[in-house]
Symmetry: C2
Subunit: 305 residues, 2 copies
Amino acid sequence: MNFADSLGHTEELVEEELARLLESEFVTGASERLVAAMRHAILGGGKRLRPFLVLESAHLFEVSRERALPTAIAVELIHGYSLVHDDLPSMDNDEVRRGRPTVWSEFDDWTAILAGDGLQALAFEILVASSKDDAHSGHGHGVRSSLVAGLAEASGVRGMVGGQALDLEADKLGTPSPPDSAYICRLQAMKTGALIRFSCEAGAILAQAGQGEQSALRAFGTKIGLAFQIADDLLDVEGNEATVGKAVAKDAAAGKATLVSLIGLEEARGELSRAVQEAKLALAPFGGRAETLLQAADFVAERDR
Amino acid sequence: MNFADSLGHTEELVEEELARLLESEFVTGASERLVAAMRHAILGGGKRLRPFLVLESAHLFEVSRERALPTAIAVELIHGYSLVHDDLPSMDNDEVRRGRPTVWSEFDDWTAILAGDGLQALAFEILVASSKDDAHSGHGHGVRSSLVAGLAEASGVRGMVGGQALDLEADKLGTPSPPDSAYICRLQAMKTGALIRFSCEAGAILAQAGQGEQSALRAFGTKIGLAFQIADDLLDVEGNEATVGKAVAKDAAAGKATLVSLIGLEEARGELSRAVQEAKLALAPFGGRAETLLQAADFVAERDR
């Protein structure tokens, strides 16, 4: 299977699993409106890059897709909730996402806030839900605690939520003014980097791999997180709105500092290519087994949406 | 120690632990503003009823305060985040809570949303953080998975978040119109009942108690959750704003249906007293060991704030 097929296959698998989850006993008793908002938030779009990284990092250690899937889903639920909250009028005030109305503009603010809150709780619930495989292996619970700890760190105030706060402080409060590239890098490492890094580490956690292998995946995740963000900024400058599926040139219009605006297009392309190289280097210990993850590093840098 | 002293002692312990947590490595790297908002949300107020129920239900099984404390803190973090989000202009639009400005009115909407999101992630992180005691007992991880599953269910769309959605649907969308007492009971069992019920069950989970004992605590928690909500509605009608620490008579002014408005004061007082009796009955299997929890049932019904 080539890389594009492999990514597409995961996209389908994740879509199906998310659809199943949002009709399952995990949402029984919740209002139809709330579940509809969660489905609107999470179904029908997205590259599912983070779940792909979870499944592929697990595959490095021969952890089955079946056993890695709940973690992949949990990461996507966290990513999805963050988009719902980030799009809110009091945050980024975005009306379109993936070519469709954002949750608050389709429903309303309070429904969007609650749908996001519910998706976050569901992510942690899924992460500890039993799987047959875990029960047989006899060490499932220790793994689950590590996954919860890792996902909470990556998504909380030391990670994603904290990065969004730094971003909005610069945007709305003008502190710091102007933000320098160290500030931008720190906020992006938290806002988008942390969850991508955890997605890559998750395979090692699931496999109870040694510290060396976990660190290698952590380094890989950190670098592709950086590459992802630079590529995102470049897309905002160079991308086509129809392809990207959301407003482009938005950062420049808003006078928002990004790495691209601070260091320029050429320099940013150089940083991107360096990040991809370093990501690949981090996978050296895995040799040929890491082929798909190596391709993922290129994909992250070259994607057009 | 009498009941009031015991409650006061827990209040101090929880306050200290929360203050310590919000200065610890768990918030390292987060922006000062975000952490300040979290501290504003969570410190300096509240009866700490839910942590008290966690610690006392644990005490039934001789689970140490030290071992039960992370769970008690996690429950309070969830409760705290829910208040921050519920107070938002797009939800209940409350400017005062516990006699102080709410987080959004002290900071702003986006800071309040992110502080709440961060508190939720922190709750799950605390729940799985290692404790010395767990390591010795050798079964810590299974317990932690059960706690995460229980807290996620109680706080997510089948519990607290789902209940708030039902509440706002009735309030803002007028569906159903008018809500009947079955609808009100369902929403309250989810919105406030589920987390109180989990707080009571947590002791049995920590102790890996048998199904019978866990069910007894679950039944107790369900009934005092109901009592808590009826008492809250009665306070809104009969209470004094200075004592209660937030606006009273707000429900009636807003034309909001509550159990009290639907069935009347006298009938509601009868329901309250029945709920307390049933809560106490549920604890019969524990005999004299449950003395403090029996007193807690009375406290919930008789509190003046």
